[in-house]
């Protein structure tokens, strides 16, 4: 501890960063995979649930209600609740992180499809689209910006939440944050926080670009 305290006067110890670059890369990878797997899994589940909602409208309140309830459980508590069943594993982290994406994703997918104007759908019917082709070729492409917006929010949220998985021995950059807090070694804490924010920002911007690329029609407006 005395060593740590001795370094506390300088906020960022670059030599620590240099010595631990390998670990930083590993934790970056961990942070990305936890985020990626959870959002991807969340998207798959949400698409399936959204299809259920679009087909059977009455299921919307119970499904979003359940997803909303999951969303309100404090993340720390959810990890603790899962540990007896799935241990201190990546599975525990992914289950918890995935469950937090559902609420945002389901709502955005359904809102995206519902946002397609009735007259566009009527025109599509009038042209002779079958209900199925109308859904995939008109409604889904038009809902994509809203869906991608949902994935974007879910991703940024998940990047933040991944840090909490440090309490079960994972955490990506959260690992540095937790250890920094425990040891009062500010360099670790700052590196963990900064990289987490940088990662969230990069992913956020990437999704903004993806959104623009997927919907060139909404970018250009009448002069």
């Amino acid at each position: 501890m005395s060593v740590v305290f001795g370094q506390a006067d300088q906020l960022l110890d670059w030599s620590w960063v240099e010595r631990n670059i390998g670990q930083i890369v590993d934790r970056t990878w961990e942070h990305l995979t936890l985020t990626g797997i959870s959002v991807a899994l969340g998207l798959v589940i949400s698409v399936l649930l959204a299809i259920v909602v679009l087909r059977w409208r009455w299921s919307y309140p119970p499904i979003t209600g359940a997803a909303g309830l999951l969303y309100t459980i404090p993340s720390l508590a959810l990890f603790a609740l899962l540990v007896p069943f799935t241990g201190l594993s990546q599975t525990t982290a992914v289950i918890a992180l995935t469950s937090y994406t559902l609420f945002i994703l389901i709502r955005n997918i359904v809102a995206g499809i519902d946002g397609v104007p009735a007259y566009v759908k009527e025109a599509a019917d009038g042209m002779g689209y079958t209900p199925r082709s109308r859904f995939w070729r008109i409604e889904v492409p038009l809902a994509l910006p809203a869906i991608v917006a949902g994935v974007r929010i879910a991703t940024v949220t998940t990047v933040g939440l991944v840090t909490v998985t440090a309490v079960i021995g994972l955490g990506g950059y959260g690992f540095f944050i937790l250890r920094g807090l425990n040891t009062f070694f500010w360099t670790q804490l700052i590196v963990g926080v900064l990289l987490s924010v940088v990662l969230a920002t990069i992913l956020d911007l990437a999704f903004v670009a993806l959104q623009a690329w997927l919907s060139p029609w909404s970018k250009r407006r009448a002069a």
Partner: protein
């Protein structure tokens, strides 16, 4: 009317929504001939849009039969039926995520045409509706309302369907653009010979466009189904008369060409005439002015007081404010009679040769006829 001439036949068609007492459309029968331009008009709640949408089964009829070119519309899958019927709606409903070219090519693409054929057709149509080819690569949001509706019409025409259904297609554009679109579409329809069913709440639009007008009352009750001139001259009942509104005579005049009225030679004389001859002509017509002819051209008019012993050739004639061609409407003729000094409409042919004159009496005869 020969059986084969009927393009669309509605037989006792009814649309009854659950939970309502009166049907939206009740027991409506209507025959529309090939190449006709039928306007469906009536107050809101008369079921005109419901009627239109039952033809392409956007709304499924509760009972009754709809035959399109002799084929039962209910005998095939709805999407197949719709690919053979052009459809234009007021909100246009272009697909925002598709370029203009892709929008126009929608139905050909659904029908499985080859890309090269679709591209050819798209190029052709964009010009037919009066747009530039460079618009083809744009998205709908980059076009004005009027341009979008032209694309809507092009999209409806893409697979060359014999029937076109239009639900207040020009309702959302401003009055000036609407006038242009109406005129252009009328010319287009005459050229293409499509059978058009056109819903509007605007009786003037119905009169202007329709070869026949179906006037509907609440619940899809057909009050009158006839040509615009016949409806204006002989409204079937009080409802129709009220719906036509005021200025019925004027509206009718708007439909009749000048050539249908009595065009007379009028008080004219050649510019070489003497003052004496000119006075004789004026006396004969009981007017105090005379038109001056140079061969077959009408130069203008001269007041009796200006002559004062001088021959016609010595006086500079004043030009007529308006001269009309024989295919202009009697309403335009009336306007020029009322606003012009001479109280007379001058009629010329397309080359500008003098055809004759039309006075108020000749026009009013047409009003009362």
């Amino acid at each position: 009317m020969a059986e084969t001439d009927v393009m669309i036949r509605l037989q006792s068609v009814t649309k009854q929504y659950a939970g309502t007492e009166l049907p939206a459309v009740g027991d409506l029968s209507l025959d529309i001939e090939r190449g006709e331009f039928v306007t469906l008009v009536g107050p809101s709640g008369c079921g005109k849009t419901t009627t239109l949408k039952m033809i392409n089964r956007i709304i499924e009829p509760t009972s009754g039969k709809i035959l399109i070119d002799g084929v039962d519309a209910l005998s095939m899958p709805a999407h197949e039926l719709r690919r053979s019927i052009g459809y234009v709606i007021q909100q246009i409903g272009l697909f925002p995520h598709r370029t203009i070219a892709q929008n126009v090519g929608t139905v050909p693409s659904l029908l499985g045409w080859e890309d090269s054929r679709i591209a050819e057709r798209t190029d052709e149509l964009i010009e037919v509706v009066g747009l530039e080819r460079e618009m083809l690569d744009r998205y709908p949001s980059e076009l004005s309302g009027g341009q979008q509706q032209r694309v809507g019409v092009a999209r409806a025409l893409a697979a060359d369907p014999p029937v076109l259904l239009m639900d207040e297609p020009f309702g959302a554009v401003d009055p000036i653009v609407r006038g242009h679109l109406q005129q252009e579409f009328l010319e287009l329809q005459r050229k293409l010979g499509k059978t058009v069913v056109f819903v509007t709440h605007d009786i003037d639009e119905a009169i202007r466009l329709g070869t026949r007008i179906a006037i509907l009352n609440i619940g899809g009750v057909l009050e009158q189904y006839d040509t615009p001139t016949e409806i204006l001259s002989n409204p079937a009942n009080q409802f129709v008369e009220d719906f036509l509104g005021g200025e019925r005579g004027l509206k009718r005049l708007g439909l009749l060409p000048i050539s249908s009225a009595d065009i007379v030679r009028g008080p004219v004389a050649d510019r070489t005439s003497t003052a004496e001859d000119a006075r004789a002509v004026m006396a004969e017509h009981e007017v105090d002015w005379i038109g001056v002819l140079d061969g077959d051209r009408l130069l203008g008019w001269v007041e009796a007081s200006a002559l004062d012993g001088a021959d016609l050739s010595e006086v500079e004639p004043r030009p007529f404010a308006v001269s009309l061609t024989a295919d202009a409407s009697l309403r335009e003729a009336l306007d020029s009679v009322v606003t012009g000094h001479a109280r007379t409409a001058v009629v010329v042919d397309r080359e500008g040769k003098y055809r004759g004159m039309l006075d108020l009496e000749a026009i009013s005869e047409e009003i009362t006829e």
